[in-house]
């Protein structure tokens, strides 16, 4: 039930294009009139987003009106919690600047992660005065596999440390995030061996530890052959056989391998796979995102 899921998680190995695809998907939802917020959480915001949304308002006013992009820094979130707890700013500052606070936040297992997920839940559930959801869809551009899983695990294990009213909030959050009606997992992978292995491992962990399944798998940066019909693939193979062009050999060899790999992913995860061909950067990033978005039709189909 991807379309109804309030949180869609774009997850996968580092460098597979999570941010770009999350933005492309967000733009597509937004252009179709759904209010969307894309949440990035990389610790270094200057490296988090490599594409820009400049010119979106001219190109697609509907998308621009409905698309929101926020960067949530777990450290800054915690600081907000502190500030909210102190009506007197000077006291809040004293706490935030104290060594004990700074160091505890760095080493306390699960603390930042817990508040981060709590904020995601809040954003996804927030409603206006008319009781309409602020955002129909929240797309979380998650950190790379290792840090993503450790975020989920740390937040889950953090419950053990919670006392008082926070303990209730912890249990509520756990329920929210392990409910497939609230959360859809959208693994993103390239068809390179290591990225695939990591994706399969990730999906296994998501299923066994959090009871979450992949709703569809996005295969990024693939060759045009990956999604072509068997006849076209056969034609390409024959063309390569009768040509001495190394570039054509490269492209065909790659495409043929990718087709096999796409099929094996589809089988092992029992989820639809959606190939997104590698394309060169066009005249603008927004145009690139639109082009990528045109391949993502099936994600909520």
């Amino acid at each position: 039930m991807t379309a109804q899921s309030r949180i869609q998680i774009a997850c996968g190995k580092g460098g597979v294009g999570k941010t770009t695809l999350a933005l492309a998907l967000g733009m597509r939802h937004a252009a179709a009139g759904r209010k969307v917020v894309v949440v990035t959480s990389h610790p270094l915001p200057e490296l988090a987003v490599s594409v820009s949304l400049e010119g979106l308002a001219q190109r697609s006013p509907t998308a621009a009106r409905n698309l929101f992009v926020v960067h949530l820094d777990p450290r800054a979130l915690l600081a907000e919690v502190v500030e909210a707890n102190f009506p007197v700013p000077i006291l809040a500052r004293a706490v935030l600047q104290s060594d004990i606070y700074k160091n505890l936040v760095e080493v306390a297992p699960g603390l930042k992660e817990f508040y981060f997920l709590a904020r995601l839940q809040l954003l996804a559930e927030r409603k206006s005065k008319q009781n309409l959801p602020d955002y129909e869809i929240l797309l979380w551009d998650a950190p790379a596999t290792g840090h993503f899983l450790s975020t989920l695990r740390a937040a889950r294990d953090f419950e053990a440390y919670l006392t008082g009213p926070l303990a209730g909030a912890g249990a509520d959050m756990k329920r929210f995030f392990s409910n497939a009606e609230n959360v859809a997992v959208l693994p993103i992978t390239t068809l390179e061996e290591m990225a695939m292995e990591e994706t399969l491992d990730l999906c296994r962990s998501m299923r066994s530890e959090f009871n979450l399944r992949a709703s569809s798998v996005l295969l990024n940066l693939v060759s045009p052959l990956a999604g072509a019909s068997p006849e076209r693939a056969e034609e390409a193979r024959r063309a390569a056989e009768s040509s001495s062009d190394p570039a054509l050999h490269f492209a065909v060899e790659r495409g043929v391998t990718e087709r096999e790999r796409a099929e094996s992913i589809r089988k092992s995860l029992d989820a639809p796979v959606i190939p997104v061909p590698r394309t060169r950067r066009g005249s603008s990033d927004v145009e690139l995102l639109e082009r990528i978005g045109s391949f993502l039709e099936g994600v909520w189909g």
Binding site: N103, A154, L162, A239, S244
Partner: protein, 335 residues
């Protein structure tokens, strides 16, 4: 002894380039170790490693060089450090503490610290060159910052004071501490949860001796990493990310006074399509290939315009980097 540190964002092929660099060193007669901090354990795949301490990679060279590889094992390194530097009864209390458990398991915290500790441990084992493959994420440079955090924590007057006295403080109603101290401490506890704060403080009060020794060793290692005669940092990137990564890493390295040795642009589509006449799907594929190759060339040109450091280009290989044999072509292309 030389230390070579590879940096880069996730998915650029950093582990392969690091392993190929070590392989090339070994082939030219040196005893070289590649250490990966990667939680995805990609080096394991690349070198078919089984895990555990440093292992010699079976390699026949006429030069007498040796290739070794190790995946950083956070728990093992931390345990070794505690056992080496603590009295046995205290060591046992530390190793059984619930916070030790979560720290040894946490990716975000201890990994970077233990990388520095591990470099120190490994430097005593007679390698000519240690090649470090840093964490795959955008946290790459945190590995150089955490030691300072940790040293601060261990040395923090507050932690020592509060950690050792919190039980006493509870009994006496916090009268023995300065009023300001108590205020801030109580507030921190209120926000972060008393249970958590006390567990962490209790752990660090046991751990403080270790942490002090650790921060001395880390300081020494950082000094070596800042010495251009011993260490250099190399940035691995891909064409699409080249300029952005270069701008970021060069600035960060400069701020921390580390030497930027070179850029490696990996996965470049190098071959130009032949001007042969083709049609149908072959033509489409060649147009697609040519288009992307063209964008690679442009990206490389902008990187070269940006930097005066050496820029090395590495080709995209059709075959994934797997065993040692697949690292050879990459090693052969290294400068």
């Amino acid at each position: 002894m030389r230390l070579t540190v590879f940096l880069g964002t996730g998915g650029v092929g950093k582990t392969s380039v690091a392993a190929a660099t070590a392989l090339k060193e070994a082939m030219s007669g040196r005893k070289c170790l590649v250490l990966t901090i990667d939680p995805a354990r990609r080096l394991q795949t690349a070198l078919r490693l089984e895990g555990g301490g440093p292992e010699r990679v079976p390699l026949v060279t006429s030069s007498g060089g040796e290739l070794w590889a190790e995946m950083l094992d956070v728990r093992a390194t931390l345990t070794e450090a505690v056992q080496l530097h603590t009295k046995p009864d205290l060591a046992e209390r530390i190793l059984k503490h619930p916070i030790f458990e979560s720290i040894a398991n946490s990716l975000g915290g201890m990994q970077e610290l233990m990388a520095i500790e591990r470099i120190d441990q490994l430097m005593r084992r007679g390698f000519d060159n240690i090649v470090v493959d840093t964490a795959p994420s955008r946290h790459a440079l945190e590995f150089l910052e955490k030691p300072e955090y940790f040293a601060q924590l261990a040395g923090s007057h507050w932690v020592k004071l509060v950690g050792r006295t919190y039980k006493f403080v509870e009994k006496t109603g916090m009268l023995s501490l300065g009023r300001k101290t108590v205020d801030v401490y109580a507030r921190v506890e209120e926000i972060l949860g008393a249970n958590l704060v006390r567990q962490v403080l209790d752990f660090y009060s046991l751990f403080v001796g270790n942490a002090e020794g650790y921060s001395q060793r880390a300081e020494h290692t950082l000094k070596l990493l800042r010495d251009p005669a011993i260490s250099d940092f190399r940035v691995v990137t891909t064409p699409q990310k080249a300029l952005r990564d270069a701008q970021y890493f060069s600035r960060e390295l400069q701020q921390r006074r580390f030497t930027l040795g070179a850029y490696y642009v990996n996965r470049v589509w190098e071959t130009a399509p032949l001007p042969e006449r083709t049609e149908g799907i072959a033509r489409e594929l060649l147009d697609w290939y040519g288009d992307i190759r063209e964008s690679h060339l442009q990206a490389i040109a902008s990187l070269q315009a940006f930097t005066a450091s050496p820029v090395h280009l590495l080709p995209e290989l059709v075959q994934d980097v797997g065993g040692l044999e697949t690292l050879q072509p990459l090693a052969a292309r290294l400068p």
